[in-house]
């Protein structure tokens, strides 16, 4: 398919992705090509970038199907937009993907039916005395255990990342959304509050609950089951 297209636009053989400036009416017969015709650029982008985009999306959303949808939306948007070549392709695509991720999180936050001030409130009291002289203090048997002198070694174990994924998945919709936006996408607090229509205090409380729940989950399912090495 050849054509000059819009005025001022270079004629391009879109099937073969060839610049036809010198032969806009395709009067010169095609040479037999030694290599197969180049594909649609989107094909190449899918090959080169789709797995990476999926990993970025999954690390934020912890759901394969949602992550795939967001990656698909990213490519659809990329097809409509014009890549100006100023940044690397991957950087550009990741930029679109992150906007889609933030949009998605904002939507599911708003659609979640529970009251944000109540959500996850039980986790704040978990492991603490509910009443009495020591109300609010850690119950010694339930307080944080020693995770060892170098908990970072856990990061080398593939099982650990499975556990972390499960723990992140265990956060309620709203806590997960807030936590991801703040900690992973590093959106400034004022912007999160504006987008989600919550107060800064709501935000701090939700972040606290998310962190507390995550810590508890990691201890229950990983660190609490490793041999203890004395006090720190």
């Amino acid at each position: 398919m050849c054509g000059a297209g819009f005025p001022g636009r270079r004629p391009v053989d879109t099937r073969n992705n060839r610049d036809m400036t010198d032969d806009p009416d395709n009067t010169v017969p095609d040479q037999p090509s030694a290599t197969p015709p180049p594909r649609n650029p989107i094909d190449a982008w899918v090959d080169q970038h789709s797995d990476y985009l999926f990993r970025v999306a999954y690390s934020r959303l912890h759901d394969r199907w949602v992550a795939e949808d967001v990656v698909q939306e990213t490519f659809l948007a990329a097809m409509k937009a014009r890549f100006d070549g100023r940044s690397a392709e991957r950087t550009w695509l990741v930029g679109i993907l992150k906007r889609k991720i933030v949009d998605h999180l904002r939507i599911i936050f708003r659609e979640s039916p529970t009251d944000p001030t109540e959500e996850g409130s039980a986790v704040e009291r978990l492991g603490h005395y509910p009443s009495g002289q020591w109300e609010g203090h850690w119950v010694p048997e339930k307080g944080p255990v020693n995770w060892g002198p170098n908990p970072a070694t856990a990061l080398e174990d593939k099982e650990f990342w499975v556990i972390l994924d499960r723990c992140l998945k265990g956060l309620s919709t709203r806590l997960a959304a807030v936590f991801t936006l703040y900690e992973m996408e590093e959106i400034p607090a004022e912007e999160i509050c504006r987008d989600l229509e919550i107060t800064p205090t709501n935000l701090w409380v939700m972040l606290h609950r998310a962190r507390k729940q995550l810590r508890h989950c990691l201890e229950q399912n990983w660190f609490g089951q490793r041999p203890r090495r004395g006090d720190s």
Binding site: S59, Q133, D165, H208, L214
Partner: protein, 104 residues
């Protein structure tokens, strides 16, 4: 009851009454990442941390979580990410087909 025992009980009574409870401390440890604590809060927390091993651990563990999550966010490519870290072949096909037949 001996004198030592009485002094010890009085000390414990005083602690229970005046020292900030751990649930507040954990909340403030989290808030510290977002806002500056008041000098009163900081003073009370310093004393609390000197006598509470659980809150000392909590503080370290919060730091570990923050570091790990940032790591995950920055390097999703380098970590063994469940499930298998790849976009399914069906989805890739679907995207390619959409590219070859762009919606008008």
């Amino acid at each position: 009851m001996g004198l030592f025992r009485r002094v010890k009980n009085a000390w414990i009574e005083w602690l229970a009454h005046y020292v900030v409870p751990c649930d507040e401390v954990t909340h403030q440890l989290s808030d510290r990442r977002q806002r500056r604590l008041t000098w009163r809060e900081r003073l009370a927390m310093r004393f609390h941390m000197s006598i509470c091993v659980w809150c000392r651990r909590y503080e370290k563990q919060l730091g570990f979580i923050e570091h790990t999550v940032r790591n995950l966010a920055a390097h999703p490519d380098e970590l063994p990410l469940p499930p298998d870290g790849r976009l399914s072949d069906e989805m890739k096909e679907r995207i390619r087909r959409a590219a070859d037949n762009p919606p008008s």
